[in-house]
């Protein structure tokens, strides 16, 4: 009797740490090359060739770091929460490890977004920080990341830590839209989103094409960083299994 498959085969294969380790080993160089290429092209294009803004002059160029970082910080949270949910529902060890790998990267990227925002805010708004909706919600996102990291490091048992973190990440996921809208209605000064999926960007293509390249570059960089952390985590957690021993002893 043929067993009914609910999920494609690769989904089950992902549950195997060993298979995951091998596939990320193959994917890693591809994403690394893509990240270096897109970030290099994007940065040079953005800093040297993209036209200056008619109001803000050259200071607007920090957008090429700020916007990708902000987008990535949010996507990273989504990925962490989804991976956590998969880990909770299907008890997949690899998903737990992915969620754990995402948190520090997301926190760092959120700090980068806040820092570049502050640097951009100084010449544009005249102050490093304003209690504006989007800044505040990004700060809260950073707090959520920090809470998740703190919870994860406070629990010694790796499985319990992963499950607890997943519950917290999911609660945060429900709360993020609420936080976003509450803060939006509370106070706003920041310009609306630069990129939306449904509308054409308000800036000329010479400006937004390098930005798009940078966004892709940031995602590739995230993939590389995530896979490195994931592989590290796999090796550490599977250190007692034979394939890791064989790998280490060569």
């Amino acid at each position: 009797m043929a067993e009914k498959k609910w999920m494609p085969r690769w989904f089950y294969q992902l549950a195997s740490p060993r298979w995951c380790y091998e596939i990320t080993g193959k994917l890693l160089p591809i994403f690394a090359i893509a990240a270096v290429a897109t970030l290099l092209v994007g940065t040079i294009w953005a800093l040297a060739f993209a036209p200056a803004d008619y109001q803000q002059g050259n200071s607007f160029r920090i957008i090429y770091i700020h916007v990708p970082a902000s987008i990535l910080a949010q996507s990273c949270y989504m990925m962490m929460a989804v991976a956590g949910a998969i880990g909770l529902i299907w008890k997949m060890k690899v998903a737990d490890m992915v969620a754990k790998a995402c948190a520090p990267i997301g926190a760092t990227i959120a700090i980068l977004s806040l820092a570049t925002g502050a640097i951009w805010g100084k010449p544009t708004w005249g102050s490093w920080w304003v209690w504006d909706a989007r800044l505040t919600s990004m700060l809260i996102l950073l707090f959520l990341y920090l809470g998740i990291i703190a919870l994860n490091s406070a629990i010694e048992n790796a499985q319990t830590a992963a499950q607890s973190t997943a519950v917290l990440a999911l609660v945060g996921l429900v709360n993020i839209p609420i936080i976003k809208y509450s803060v939006d209605w509370w106070n706003t000064l920041h310009q609306p989103a630069t990129f939306t999926l449904t509308e054409r960007p308000a800036m000329p293509s010479e400006m937004w094409v390098p930005l798009l390249v940078m966004v892709i570059g940031f995602y590739c960089f995230f993939a590389v960083a995530m896979m490195l952390r994931l592989r590290n985590e796999i090796i550490q957690r599977e250190r007692r299994s034979s394939w890791v021993r064989d790998l280490i002893t060569g």
């Binding site: 909770l88 809260i140 707090f143 959520l144 920090l146 809470g147 703190a150 919870l151 406070a154 629990i155 048992n157 499985q159 319990t160 499950q163 607890s164 519950v167 917290l168 999911l170 609660v171 945060g172 429900v174 709360n175 609420i178 936080i179 509450s182 803060v183 209605w185 509370w186």
Partner: protein
């Protein structure tokens, strides 16, 4: 062979009593009774609430005009911190004496038991805080128009604080030092309640219509009532099994 019918209740009176009790009322009664027998713990969050509000005139400025401006936010922040402070002990003693494990193993729906425990917690912290809040309002020169907004917003907001805080308490109950960690986990999630709660009080002071604020606080409470016990139950299972 014996002709006794199995599963026949030994005492029908007891069964009907169990039905009246149910998991929800049983848990609620138990928690209220336990807290009533340790009365000193009940007052602590209230004293804390008063003390925090006292710090602001001392630390910032005793000027009545200034205090009236910040009063909505200060009372709300103080209520939020007082709730947070009392959160850590919500599941702690049950966890330590093994009651929590028995609750999880029992055939009763965990959702109802958790809801009852949170309700008991709110009746012993959130509700007294709400009743005490007008006193703080007077101390901080909150205009009399703002009082109704203050009380209603706290009445709608503090149950949400208890529900969300209980998720943090459930996640950290297995840890020896949950105190600081629980604040890190829960405070970011408290922000929407704080924003709309204090905005409602501001609105009441300036005479704006308050329906919208109360509707949003009520919506957050409804969402919390439906979703939070699920998360609390899942977190308790993880904490106890880990």
């Amino acid at each position: 062979m014996s002709d006794t019918v199995p599963n026949q209740p030994a005492d029908s009176g007891m069964v009907s009593e169990c039905k009246v009790d149910g998991p929800f009322w049983g848990a609620l009664k138990r928690d209220l009774l336990l807290s009533y027998r340790r009365k000193s713990d009940l007052v602590n969050p209230l004293i804390f609430f008063l003390m925090v509000a006292t710090l602001f005139p001392l630390g910032v400025s005793p000027d009545p005009g200034f205090l009236a401006d910040v009063a909505p936010g200060v009372v709300w922040v103080a209520a939020l911190l007082a709730t947070l402070l009392s959160m850590d002990s919500l599941f702690r003693s049950d966890f330590e004496d093994g009651t929590l494990e028995q609750i999880l193993l029992s055939p009763q729906p965990l959702y109802m038991v958790v809801l009852a425990k949170v309700l008991a917690h709110w009746m012993l912290t959130g509700l007294p805080l709400t009743l005490l809040a007008p006193l703080l309002g007077v101390m901080l020169f909150l205009p009399a128009d703002g009082m109704s907004g203050l009380v209603i917003s706290l009445l709608l907001g503090t149950p949400t604080l208890s529900l969300v805080g209980a998720i943090g308490a459930a996640l950290t109950v297995g840890l020896r030092k949950g105190g600081v960690l629980i604040s890190l986990l829960v405070l970011p999630l408290y922000i929407p309640v704080l924003i709309f709660g204090s905005a409602a009080v501001q609105g009441a002071v300036t005479g704006l219509p308050l329906g919208g604020y109360f509707a949003i606080l009520g919506a957050m409470l409804s969402l919390g009532l439906v979703m939070a016990p699920l998360a609390i139950g899942a977190a308790l299972r993880i904490s106890v099994s880990g």
